[in-house]
Symmetry: D2
Subunit: 337 residues, 4 copies
């Protein structure tokens, strides 16, 4: 039973159907097709705002292109030290921006705090000798399966804006965060000060589809050229646009996220004694110890170790199409340990 | 009737079916799935050689990642002045390589000549003051719908290798070239000295799938890191791998290319009097004049003007799924003009 | 007798004296010293305009930093195909800009023509698929020792500005051009539409000093950060600033340029029959043929061959401190051939 | 009395004399002059090894060019969190390398520890998803005026090499470190495993001269091209080479460093009660408190605050030409506080 990652999931039927339906007739290429042309309106509806939305195929592309639009080559990008952009994208922000420097910040359970950000910004000298504070990147839900409340985002964004930084949100698991908060998507994005969102669909039921959503359209032209130049403008754009349209319009974004969140809660309860972080999305981090990890694996469960070898931590991620029997089985096994 | 581009096409049934079949069960992410793991063998079989093959979603990514692997930041990349890398990728080779300089070469009908390459290499001073000759990029079939013979490629590659350059082939329409030559894929690639091939499937029946095929495996590790860093390693890699496997294993690559080549020949015959270049793939360039272009458009034909406004040139591209009636209608209309 | 390049010259006494005088007492670093603080005013006086002026140590730095400030990474930079930025800076504009693409234009005697620029701009498609026209770079005096008239620069700048490009001038031999035209420096810079000038002093009597002069101060902050980041902000800035101050304030810029221009005219007259370009600065290009080149070298003259091996062209450059006997000797030798 | 920085110093007489002596006759440009041609031998003599040495004008250039030669764009560069490359070069390593990521490590008194490096390397996953460990950068003397013992460097280099990293040393104040240790320059460089050294002369008596010294000549060609491309190959190279030759051949490197070290020791003793770090070079860090800082300034002493505003720390740097009266005056004032 696989709990490696939500990237192991298939595409959900609604999205595959949309893709198949889009497979009709000759359509204009490079985003001039009717599916792509509907993206702004569809995502605008989803977010309750005027937006400009652009489809790309990977989360790394969404994040790094967004950040390159927000930061000059000599910029500093503030983010959590365990953020995907800092640890799992092979330096993509540095590549796309032409060398901007990440400033890794600490924070419990994967969340940035206002204090840590303020401290870092205050400590940063105003001088030509250093990189220039340019962007803040938040991850919602975080890499550790936790979720920012709207007020937390607003406070961080507010400080960032006061200091002249733009705000990016890595929303690879955005749906899980919104499902957990049971709020409107607006509340954790533009209303809370987010300028650009990497809005992920891949992990939560698409094949390969992420939208970069701009709540501030000034930045859009630069983004479009960077996207093309990076090989992230798909010629047959209809297929990625169709995935995104189905994702927000059929409601699978919510249904899938609610299921994975609920199952993660089940695992969290079963592992309550050894839980490392609150379970607020579809990821559960458990301090199992090396032996119990081994035992679980021997019992047929697949998952990643997390962090330093000896720490004995394990990460379980629930996929939208996780077979029904998997989570009860995992819970039972955790209970036995 | 649309003759804009083969990018307007749908995906062909065999490839969509393969993608749908791959949509089963939790699979390892980032290329550790069973589909991706079969790529080397499948493409090795196709090319009759040991290869390392990597899937990406766009031709620009395939080209620019390949070239960045072949050229240092201070390298010079030689290619035709009308090559896609020079005119249609928004400077992607410069971005991916960290600033390598394209050296545009002239050549009739979109083809590089040995003379032009030799002249350029001879004229290039051996000095620390200039960019360093690093790579030659050939396009097969060319942007102007023509095709290099194996001996032509071998001669160009040979010269390039003698001067210390590596050889890249942009094969966005590789199938059309092979179908035209009726040769084995090996004859126009590794046997002719090509080191790395961008092997396109998107235009010829895939949704979004290109393979970067290395005939020299020394370069592979650098490529893998650059791909990840550029956001071109897909998390759910199975979907792009499945497209490529179906493309080479079901034979659609050939069937589709043969059909579009044949239809292009029909158009070429109908426009014989005004033909600008030999028709050797699925593109036809016709010197219509401004008025006849207008007349054709009024009659319901969609196509791109080509080159300078006043020149009156038109480009017609046949898609693999071009409706049966389209080409006869176009031929008739061209005959009437 | 050396006619290789004006880079072989020494520093002139006035400039060495200024540097020596600056060598007194502890001075603030990184440009907060009194010499650097006077640069804007001194160069503003020289150009008859409000300027912001920044010292760097090399012409390549001056050019590439200027162009990176004018062009985004996805920009196109138009310049003469024989411009220093295109042929002699190892791809520096691509490096500093993050990959901007040079568009090399032809033009007799090293000079861009309005027609060639217009043709290139007209031919450039307005599309996300290509690099975006961003900057025009003119060289004054050109690499071939010729000089643009004020009206020629104004016409080129005017067209560039109409199309949304900024204008850069590579003035590595700016003094020679002004001396030849016998005009005010304003006439060939800001009054003629130049936005940024690389104002060279090194070749004409400094040790290592070039000023980047902005006639448009909006661009300045970006430049300052790029300069620091590129290692071109000197810690002991006083020494480079002192050179530039002496260069414009003692009048050596003019005295030296007038001497080298005059001597080059002498050579030009002696080689009149084989002259390749009008002699308007301190460089003389002569079609000697391979044998006469050999004969001259045997007679003790040092100079560079120019262009293709077989063409038999030679370049003679006069240095500000060219020994008095050198030019008469060269003229006599040329006469004898 | 100025204790801001050793960058406020003048050039010492021996170096200015050498520069003046080099100002004779036409010399080949771009490093083909007789001064530059002697650099390898002179620095090879200094270090007791075969070296390749290259002159540049700034420490940022020396560091960033070295690191770009050691690290691919997707590399990770390990260094102290207070290293100049991390805090004072406006992201230069990211720019020159094409986006390599700095990994800032903690360490008391500005020094890296074997434990911190090992921890970081052990924690770094071996995967295509992250930047690849490529280089270690040590600063000798450190930014906090402390000095690594030969055995400390050897242990760090050894670990780095075991893990496949190359070792760079930022020696902006290398002479101070050697003078403090009273050792041969070899002992803290190649004998201790350093691959490339930024060998600073500017702070210690030159006008603007740093040498990049390669103890491993494999890397040299790449460096030369990067240097040219970055505008750091000086046309009149003789002037920077002459400074470096005088620096090592007249012994001023040692004389100046010994004087500034000795004066710094005097200050250290006067401030012994509030000293923040051992005084081992020409920098002294004192926890004065905000009020005593103010009092010292009122008494005519100029110096930089260090670190966070409220911390009350001050940095005093002694210049090679610090007037004789300055240090006794400062010591007296510190004693009075």
């Amino acid at each position: 039973m696989r709990f490696y990652s939500d990237n192991t999931a298939t595409a959900c039927p609604e999205i595959l159907a949309a893709l198949t339906q889009a497979n009709q007739g000759l359509a204009l290429a490079y985003g001039d097709d009717q599916w792509t042309q509907r993206l702004d309106a569809a995502l605008g509806g989803f977010f309750g705002a005027e937006v400009r939305a652009f489809a790309v195929a990977t989360g790394t592309a969404a994040n790094a292109l967004s950040l390159a639009t927000l930061s000059p080559p000599y910029g500093a990008i503030y983010g959590h030290e365990e953020a995907h952009i800092a640890t799992d994208e092979c330096g993509a922000p540095g590549f796309f921006s032409g060398g901007a420097q990440l400033v890794p910040l600490p924070g419990a359970a994967g969340k940035l705090t206002l204090e840590a950000l303020q401290l870092a910004l205050d400590a940063h000298p105003a001088s030509v000798h250093t990189v220039q504070p340019a962007a803040l990147s938040l991850t919602q839900a975080t890499e550790l399966g936790t979720v920012y409340r709207p007020a937390e985002i607003a406070a961080l964004s507010n400080l960032a804006h006061q200091r002249g930084l733009r705000v990016h949100m890595d929303g690879a698991r955005f749906a899980n965060a919104v499902a957990f908060l049971d709020c409107h998507p607006a509340e954790v994005t533009w209303r809370a000060g987010v300028d650009v969102l990497s809005f992920g669909a891949t992990k939560n039921g698409a094949l390969a589809a992420e939208a970069v959503v701009f709540f501030d359209s000034d930045l859009v032209r630069d983004f479009e050229l960077r996207r093309k130049r990076a090989g992230h403008l798909l010629s047959k754009s209809r297929y990625v646009a169709a995935q995104l349209l189905a994702y927000v319009e059929t409601g699978v974004w919510k249904r899938n996220a609610q299921r994975t969140n609920r199952l993660a809660q089940d695992i969290g309860r079963a592992a309550a004694a050894s839980l490392m972080h609150p379970v607020q999305a579809n990821e559960v981090f458990v301090k199992l110890g090396v032996q119990r990890r081994q035992a679980l694996r021997a019992a047929g469960f697949e998952f990643y170790d997390w962090g330093a070898e000896g720490a004995g931590a394990a990460r379980f991620v629930v996929s939208w199409d996780q077979p029904d029997a998997d989570v009860p089985a995992l819970c039972a096994a955790l209970g036995r340990l």
